[in-house]
Symmetry: D2
Subunit: 157 residues, 4 copies
């Protein structure tokens, strides 16, 4: 899919995405920043911090997954209808190399944007002394929901 | 596999797992506790906290994934050789219901323990007023490594 | 979730599932049989055949995935509304041990049945001389659709 | 990663990959052809056939997964040492659009080639009347093994 030709359904998509990101306490706790917001694509940057590490001093896999999942979710949201919110249905991440670096850059992109479901992918690069290295790849499914009805989106009957 | 019959290769497995968990700054940041450590099975509990939420006030998917991944990894480590460490190769999580609750309980178990790779699964339940609800399921691959050689485990040539 | 208490929305669920399975040419090509159909649970059996193998003579991962995916999909369908069909959104399979055996048994079960999405898991065991061994585990997302509208389910408007 | 600069460890990689593919009865059963074999990249083409479909007449998800998994596995094998074989550890596939077309093209590529594990991704496009459409995306982990020792690769000692 040529995501550059995608027309957002909501002309106000960037403000909506940035507003949603700003209301995520978990992103603040991690210190993640939403940098780029384009139709079908977002970038999230996480500076290294000692309290985000695992037992060997690498960035914890959960922090890697956190920014990749958010980059996927917000890439999906850029293409959703006004008034819709985004929730993660599932994601899978391959941790490709040790997460060693000064900062970590997650780039999320939409593979397919549907009325209900959006399929996304994200790469995470570790940056050190100006050079980058791929450390993780994610494939994820996102769902559009209208709060608060999504509370029961998965509930039987 | 009947995990109750699994013989740990390291009689000191519980202390080794608890020590490794204690050296994870990310788990401290989240406030996660390692409660049960049995051969091929671990339990991690995460009390709800407002700074771990996403934009709707639910526990963030990244926090859900964090405890599920750690429960898988430490379940794998209970069955590894003395001196080995565990790293996540990949994990996939389905977010089954909104993460609403007072605390979240991840139960990780080993499906298959090999010399190099271990396949694990984890369930996460949200507990509220004494009742529990399944909110997430994970399937993960872990790798045994001997620090620091695992730094280059994925490096070509 | 206690799937034994699940009430099918369609009293005719078993016939509907068996009829759908019978209309899958791919299952016939592989020689797979749908054996058990219960609310939220199905079993598919695949006898070993030389033309289903990979280069080492094991059952091919694609054949393992085929019966696991179908067991998940039909488990989901047992709980869907009359008139709905099921499509796979995504699945992830861990190939836990070499697929060596006389026949392969996939057991699919519903973890959560929602109006739109159903989350399922499946195990595949290889049976040889009366004993079974876990060879694969799957986690999958299924979607309910009303043919032919699902043709455009993923299409951006 | 710029896969064009990858140096195969085995100058004879193409013949080794083509020979392994030719020894896969399952690929013959499906009618799949291995078309391109480059360092870190392979292409597999599957012509549509009525006996490869599911209940709506689309190509079955298992056939889609079969060619994506094989494209990943053989992409991994192009970069492995002489004498090594490849086995799938796990794969996850998102089925992005209905698999309707005259033929299906899976392109597998290596994201990271390690001594033991290789991380790969594959896209599958459906081709109809000369135009192509993305219908599936896979992320997979492959393992290098030396037959027959890999038979016990996952077995606990």
């Amino acid at each position: 899919m040529n995501i550059r030709t995608l027309e957002p359904r909501d002309p106000n998509f960037e403000a909506r995405v940035r507003d949603s990101f700003a209301r995520q306490p978990m992103m603040r706790l991690l210190g993640a920043e939403l940098t780029r917001v384009l139709p079908g694509l977002t970038e999230i940057i996480l500076p290294f911090r000692g309290d985000l590490t695992q037992q060997h001093g690498y960035l914890h896999a959960a922090a890697v997954a956190a920014i990749a999942d958010s980059a996927c979710g917000y890439a999906a949201l850029t293409l959703m209808e006004p008034g819709q919110e985004v929730l993660s249905v599932e994601f899978k991440v391959n941790l490709i190399a040790p997460a060693v670096g000064e900062r970590f850059v997650a780039l999320g992109r939409v593979l397919r944007s549907g009325r209900t479901l959006t399929v996304c992918a994200a790469d995470v690069h570790a940056e050190q002394s100006g050079s980058g290295k791929l450390i993780a790849a994610m494939q994820a499914t996102m769902i559009a929901s209208t709060f608060p009805s999504h509370r029961t989106g998965f509930v039987a009957s």
